[in-house]
Symmetry: C2
Subunit: 330 residues, 2 copies
């Protein structure tokens, strides 16, 4: 039987484990043009919270009883498409389940000799691509710029800081807690780091960004982002990647209107979705792989064992408890 | 003696006439390289409110006793620069005063045979240039787009709607009151108009923008802009020209956080200042003049007589009482 994690009820605020169900279903049969994938690693990402709400967003919401959508890495168990062979490692949007039948065109083969297969879930996959296109395409950093990153120790933030350094910029990371702050400086090459839980963010930003913030890569929103917006440099670019501080609010948080700062600083704020860049992944992945090989990109994984632990890992990630890319080993 | 309007006290919220003083000072003497201008028309614009506050912004705040800064149109009374002759009509940042000594390089000669000199204060001057660069450079409209404009009957908004039509777009204007709404449809060529004071803005936007809003040219901010942001089309551009609904707030208004909508719609929000485009005015002014000659641009002026009326005209404009570009005839 195929074990899978489904949505049991729509979370109200922060999800609870009881919002999820572990179910068993008959093994799926791959149809014409489909591939049967035995998932080995499941990805745990903030965007999944949005799919659990009914609210209109960029993707259809999950229905109660649906398997939780996710990127997963697995091995081909059977195939009705000649491009794949049994034993191939693949990555695709195959969800939190042990076995998935997926259309061949939605899967990407990965070279497990080049890098561990789990990297297809982060530095050589979704979070790496998100960091790459968000920073370079929307943020348009120029060598010498100061790039500030929120949730800088998170799966995307780690990479954004390192890509900023590769691009000749100064990287300033914001994260919660002394341990994360240290990892920004020691593991991920940030030039300066701010612990928003224990420091005055406005004062720390002022000290770390003497000439203002040229690029702000925002994963969190909320008051941390308000503080960064007050320190922009002229013609700053604000990349809206996520707003994880807001995802669990049943009603939008009230905050001071600051739009006029965009005029004061002639600044641009822009949202993006990595799925819009699908036809350019082939540009980014070889570069990310090369930087990884050259030792210019470091990563950290936070792997828990057992598909039944996925809901707990997801809740922990929303609480900032993970210490690297959150992954579930099946 | 030179009559002039100065800042008597910093306004607290909506300005009062007592925040201004009408003073007399000795006639200024033009120095080397300067031109003495006898002002005939003074401009009244929302941005002046910002200069009266102490808060950090893109320009130095006025000090108590300073002449109110403004664009003004006048005739050259005396000149120490060979590029100007007595009797020339000029426009420059010469303030709310009868006589001004200005550096020659800060003045622009205007051809009063081409169009009335007052047009240098709007359609062939600041507001026309603001509409042109804000719409075309930041908004990047594509023929067929729906362009929504707030404060659409205001000095900038009138022109944005007409430029949108010239660019092959559908123009939807938002203004306050039945009379302004009518002028949008009958005078300024808007395809649809919304009276935010008497209509449900969200419902009216839904009806007027079936395929969403591709470009939002925002002059007001506040709840009107919140409603527009909920109706964006994918990859929408939000041009932040002004936030006049917020200028008189002693403290920032609290509002629901909506930044995540920029991700949902992959939208861009960008502020701009017309002064940054000074080296491109020569591109825009001949085009605006040609469209004016061809009857493609209409304008309305709201001229009050007497420099002593300038504070009253300014307060009226902030209250939305003007019915065209607010101008004071000296």
């Amino acid at each position: 039987m195929n074990r899978r994690v489904t949505l049991a009820s729509r979370p109200n605020g922060m999800p609870k484990e009881s919002d999820f169900a572990l179910e068993e279903a008959p093994d799926p049969e791959p149809g014409a043009g489909e591939v049967l994938v035995r998932n080995r690693f499941l990805s745990v990402d903030p965007y999944q919270r949005g799919r659990m709400s009914e609210a209109r967003s960029y993707a259809q919401p999950l229905q109660i009883g649906d398997v939780i959508t996710s990127q997963s890495v697995g091995e081909v168990a059977a195939t009705n498409d000649p491009r794949f062979a049994a034993g191939d490692w693949v990555v695709g949007q195959t969800g939190w389940q042990e076995l998935a039948a997926a259309r061949a065109g939605t899967l990407r083969k990965i070279d497990s000799k080049l890098a561990p297969p789990t990297t297809a879930l982060h530095v050589l996959g979704g979070t790496g691509l998100t960091a790459y296109f968000g920073l370079f395409d929307i943020g348009e950093p120029v060598a010498g710029d100061t790039v500030v990153v929120s949730a800088a120790a998170g799966a995307v933030g780690q990479i954004v800081g390192q890509l900023s350094k590769i691009a000749g910029c100064r990287a300033v990371g914001i994260a919660g807690g002394e341990e994360k702050k240290r990892s920004l400086l020691e593991e991920f090459g940030y030039d300066a780091a701010i612990d928003y839980k224990n420091e005055d963010v406005a004062a720390a930003l002022k000290a770390a960004c003497r000439d203002g913030v040229n690029v702000y890569f925002d994963n969190v929103g909320g008051e941390v982002s308000d503080a960064v917006q007050r320190r922009l440099a002229l013609h700053a670019r604000i990349v809206i990647c996520g707003q994880v501080s807001q995802y669990n609010n049943a009603k939008p948080e009230l905050a001071p209107r600051m739009t006029n700062l965009l005029v004061v600083y002639r600044a641009r704020m822009e949202g993006f979705l990595i799925t819009d860049y699908a036809d350019r992944f082939g540009e980014a992945l070889p570069r990310l792989a090369a930087w990884l090989r050259e030792g210019k990109l470091h990563y950290r994984e936070d792997i828990v064992e057992g598909i039944e632990k996925a809901p707990r890992a997801f809740i922990g990630m929303l609480n900032g408890e993970n210490r690297g890319k959150a992954i579930v080993a099946v």
